[in-house]
């Protein structure tokens, strides 16, 4: 693979531009689709340039979510549900993982390694695998159709605990020694030294976990039977329904655009943290 500059340089640009275009293609269509009338799309001859219905469609989707042929929930409410769910999952995972990693890294107590392995093994039990029995537990605890039911079962995190433990192992012993000599207790050391030192890792992890939470599908599908608790990702699939040609595709596409806007914005604007988080959580 020559790294020299020269005439061979058109190839990478050609391939990458083609890639970018192919990757953006579905989004471009969704954007265009969300600016036309349902009837224009139903003819199958939707123009490839924006139509004039953009504000109408988005306003309609946000406030009622229901067209002539689709019955949905107002997208505004769905977006709020998704936001609450994603935030609880991201913040919750970080909070409980950072304290358990702190316990494992800075204390010596009976059962320390046992508990560490107990958390570690959950890596091998993704929610999709134990879906039916977990659903039963949530039903028995009367947590169906609540934010607690949507989020708490997903909040335990072996990955985040492992990551914070790695970070804590790089904190020099001298720092803890100095804190002890100054008379700082374990919690004071945590708040004043450990937490500030983990700032960048927390930011990186937050980006990844926010996207993870926002994009959940199978779990909210089971837990939300009440339409007012649905998330945007569930809402859009319910709108598609049987996907007939004669449906309000303009509203569906407006909803799709609204559904991907928050996580995509997080990735694009917090790119640095996103890449850092992705590489750290997986390695």
């Amino acid at each position: 693979m020559g790294t020299r500059n020269g005439p061979a340089n058109w190839l990478p640009h050609f391939v990458l531009t083609l890639g970018v275009v192919v990757f953006a293609f579905p989004i471009y269509f969704a954007l265009i689709g969300s600016t036309h009338e349902a009837a224009t799309i139903a003819t199958g001859r939707m123009p490839l340039v924006p139509g004039g219905q953009m504000l109408d469609n988005y306003w309609h989707a946000l406030t009622s979510g229901t067209g002539f042929r689709v019955s949905g929930t107002p997208v505004g409410g769905l977006l709020l549900n998704s936001l609450i769910m994603a935030l609880i999952i991201a913040v919750g995972k970080i909070a409980i993982s950072i304290v358990s990693a702190y316990a494992v890294a800075f204390f010596s107590f009976p059962g320390r390694m046992f508990f560490f392995w107990m958390i570690f093994v959950t890596l091998m039990l993704p929610v999709e695998v134990r879906i039916i029995p977990t659903y039963k537990v949530v039903t028995d605890l009367h947590m169906v159709n609540t934010f607690a039911g949507l989020t708490v079962p997903l909040i335990a995190s072996a990955t985040a605990t492992l990551l914070f433990r790695q970070v804590f192992l790089t904190i020099p012993d001298e720092l803890a020694e100095a804190a002890k000599i100054d008379g700082a207790g374990a919690m004071r050391f945590f708040w004043q030294i450990v937490l500030p030192l983990s700032r960048t890792n927390i930011a990186a992890l937050f980006v990844i976990l926010f996207i993870y939470g926002w994009n959940q599908y199978l779990w909210p599908l089971l837990i939300t039977t009440d339409r007012s608790m649905e998330t945007i990702v569930i809402g859009i699939v319910k709108m598609i329904g049987t996907s007939e040609a004669q449906t309000d595709w303009n509203l569906i596409m407006a909803t799709a655009v609204l559904a991907m806007l928050p996580p995509v914005a997080v990735v694009v604007f917090m790119q640095h943290w996103f890449v850092k988080g992705l590489v750290e959580t997986e390695k």
């Binding site: 790294t3 990458l16 800075f106 029995p133 039963k136 994009n215 599908y217 199978l218 799709a256």
Partner: protein
């Protein structure tokens, strides 16, 4: 690894561990034990009578042609998704690793599909490949190819593979790019002195990338197994005629729709065994650092 300096508190570490452990026990271990327990029971749909039947559920599943069909679908689907998503990503990464202008712009523009939920990705691809109103779906029909993913099982499988791979390419791309950038430039330059670009790639760069490739292979298979439920649920609902019913989709159908607790639990137990094997294999190889 142990620290020299530790805090003397006796109770505090347990308190700090409590939230994580409670959630882990209630929502991970307890359900996992339940899955194993239900998998050896036969329960009538109303939950009135249960009888212990040992491994009969597993026997029923493993001889059920529908289950074996779903195994086949899963193998074809995950192989296709992993091959497509990794192949395309590797091509982009190799191109973006060259000294070209604007590589950061390309990186940003290839990265964002990662953030799109699988089910939302499905709705976008549905809009393009819908046989009547979709831009490409309609075009295929006008070209005389009978395109209808609601009737043709192979076309349905192709569409879910496309939608599922599309968003996974971003992830693979970032890891391949990081892997390529970690290879010393001197090695590549030395090799390209006496070999053409093709040979340099296959005999030097590709082998050096093998830890990344192997890691991504496991991640992609796990993704195709479990995270693509939304894509399939949104586009095909497992149809037509179960042509896109993967193992995880079948657990959902049998457990939630057909209320076959024993059967779906046995399937969950089998899937757990698959995940445990994949994770174990991954850790074993990462420890050994797949390398030439």
């Amino acid at each position: 690894m142990r620290r020299r300096v530790i805090f003397p508190n006796k109770l505090l570490p347990y308190l700090l561990l409590t939230p994580q452990l409670v959630i882990t026990v209630v929502f991970f271990y307890w359900p996992a034990v339940q899955a194993v327990y239900y998998s050896v029971l036969l329960q009538d749909p109303f939950g009135l009578r249960t009888s212990f039947i040992w491994l009969e559920n597993f026997q029923t599943i493993l001889t059920d042609p529908l289950y074996l069909g779903s195994v086949e679908v899963t193998i074809v689907f995950s192989t296709a998704v992993a091959a497509l998503a990794m192949g395309v990503a590797l091509l982009f990464a190799v191109m973006a690793d060259r000294k070209i202008r604007g590589k950061h712009v390309y990186r940003t523009l290839l990265m964002w599909p990662y953030a799109v939920a699988p089910a939302v990705a499905a709705s976008l691809w549905l809009f393009i490949f819908h046989p009547e109103i979709g831009f490409l779906g309609r075009w295929l029909n006008e070209m005389g190819m009978r395109w209808d993913y609601k009737l043709n099982g192979n076309q349905a499988l192709l569409l879910v593979v496309l939608a599922a791979s599309w968003k996974q390419v971003s992830y693979n791309f970032l890891f391949f790019l990081a892997g390529l950038q970690a290879i010393p430039k001197s090695v590549v330059e030395a090799a390209s002195m006496d070999a053409g670009p093709g040979r340099t790639f296959w005999s030097i760069i590709f082998p050096l990338l093998s830890p990344t490739t192997f890691f991504l292979l496991v991640v992609n298979v796990v993704y195709a197994f479990f995270d693509t439920f939304g894509v399939i649920h949104a586009i095909t609902g497992g149809g037509p005629a179960k042509a896109t019913e993967t193992l995880i989709y079948k657990v959902y159908v049998d457990g939630v729709m057909n209320l076959d607790l024993g059967g779906s639990s046995a399937q969950s137990v089998i899937l757990m065994a698959v995940v445990i094997t994949l994770t174990a294999v991954q850790f074993r190889f990462i420890e050994r650092k797949v390398h030439y």
